[in-house]
Amino acid sequence: MVSVLTCLLKKKVTEDLPVLDEEIEVIGREIKIAINAVFGRSLAIRELDTGSDNATEIEINNLNNPFYDVERFGITFVASPRHADVLIVTGCVTHNMVIAAKKTYDAMPSPKFVVAVGDDACDGGIFSGTYAVLGGVEKILPVDLKIPGNPPTPVQILAGLLALMKKARRE
């Protein structure tokens, strides 16, 4: 049985991060200001994989690890497209995913944004023009922003999201 008092009084388990990434902090602060202004303090993102090699998903997942922890900037990854402002699409669009991808997009409330993350999502990459793949995300959905990379790093993805926020603010 763990005593409540011990829990309150003992040394905290959380420590300062071993490295503080200045670049992340700068982008994060800027993105937070933009999200506060445009999206009422919280940006809800839904991730959709239409045929990636799973490296891009790992990098997007990494945005939630303690090094980046993007939730503190107001960015949340949500479980349903119905809660989402932004759809992040990774990977080239395979024929087998077309119907599911369109349904996911249709389930989102307007206004909505689509961001293609990774080389394959941007233009189909090495898979374009083959039998199994339709091409980049823009073949089936209106893409607002492309973040190239094989895969792009968490910092690059965050910088891309900042660009999207700026674009949304202008519009």
Binding site: S52, N54, A55, T56, N62, H95, T130
Partner: protein, 526 residues
Amino acid sequence: MTTDNDIGIRVAQEFLGSDALADRIMHGPNNELYLLIEESEFEIAISHLAANKFVLISIFCCERFSLHATQTLFYIFERRTSILVVFLGINGYATSIAGIYPCASWFERECRDGFGIEFEGAFDNRRLFLHETYPDDFHPLKKSFKNASIVTKEIINPADEYPFLEVLGEGVYQVPVGPVHAGIIEPGHFRFSVIGETIFNLECRMFYKHRGIEKLAEGKIPTYCIRIAEAVSGDESVANTTAFCMAVEQISHIQVPERTWYLRTILLELERICSHLGDQAGMLIDVAFPLGASQFSVLREECFRESDQLTGSRFLRGIIAIGGISRDIPKVQLDELLSFVHQLRKRYRIGLKIVLSTASVIDRFSTTGVILPALLRPLNITGPAARASGGKVDVRLNHPYGIYDKFAPKPQRLRDGDVLSRFTIKASEIMDSIDLIERLIASVPGGDVRSDAIIRDGYTLAMVESARGQNLCWVWIKDGVIERYKVRTASFSNWLAIEHAVQGNIVPDFPVINKSLNLSYAGTDL
């Protein structure tokens, strides 16, 4: 890859007789044993191999391999340290062996989709990687089909929809999940048949991400195909490119400098650590213990950064090359890596202690998602999942490649087969990989890291132990370009294990069972 093929020859003698054997048996460049059989001998051969406890690890098809037949089917069997490739020419029809080897079913459906081969006696004739949207009678891996965009069906008739197995009875209902899931993960469909909260049956439908990797490689020069091998599965980049390069090197008789193998092995083990750390963090998230998960995800991010320092890629891409590695890793960086893994071991132990002393975690992990040892051979379950259920399978030990004969990993084995066993096995493997990296850095020799690569024609099988288990590829080079590149990842084999592991568990435990095997959808779907 070293193999001990005596047992394969002995069993072949039993059903063919020693006289007939001489001109039908041959050794491949990677020391795998090929055995040509006639269609009439097929059934007796399979029953002999099954009786002698050979495990079926892959079936694939190839066109234009033999002058006398339209297609050639290759059945790859493994028994401990021996590899036997049984092959036979066919003309569009073959006999199904899914009744004897249940894992054959997915392979046969794959051949059926790709080449239009009908398997007589098959219990499952549904399409596999070609979903409803593909036109009828479309077989992309046939040589007569040139890889180009195709017109697919826009509207799918409800009658043409994929028929899932229906479990009927009072109180049984179905829960369809996917292909788009709630988390940031890859797409796949899970059809649960549930009684109350308990899972009665699960059917996994994959291949939503089918990108046509194998067809894409055809006609390309081998150096270009490294990029394709990297795309098989992002977090297995080193394993898959190493397997591919190993195959090309063996075919072309390229001697790889010794230093290269030390560096490749360091990268292979680093990739394993990174993958296992991610699995463990994910498993802890799924049992609502973020304190433990963050310990491991911090370490994993540091591994990514270390990989970036070493090779310029967080996923160790672009470093493995045919004949060696694309650039040397200087001593300074290796010393840095040494102190990094030294620290990693200390901090990993602290994290592990927190996790293993938390009762709620142990409670959720133990007796959850048991994979029975009896399933290992029929389903060809591989990697840490098999080792957690008492399996003695590890390519690094059974078929040592590179310098694994000198730097053998510690054999890991647990028997319970539950989520806790898989978690513990992965923890031991991380520790062991750290040991291996330290030993490798301490004795890495100097010299070149790349030898001249003159590509020759031929074919061979190559296998590596990726973080998820045995990955194999079969490469056939003809006129200097790839004629066939067959990949079978550990994930492809282990999906069947999940279907069995979840039975009798409750639906809310599915995520942690799934994560404890952490299979790559991309590596399965190709």
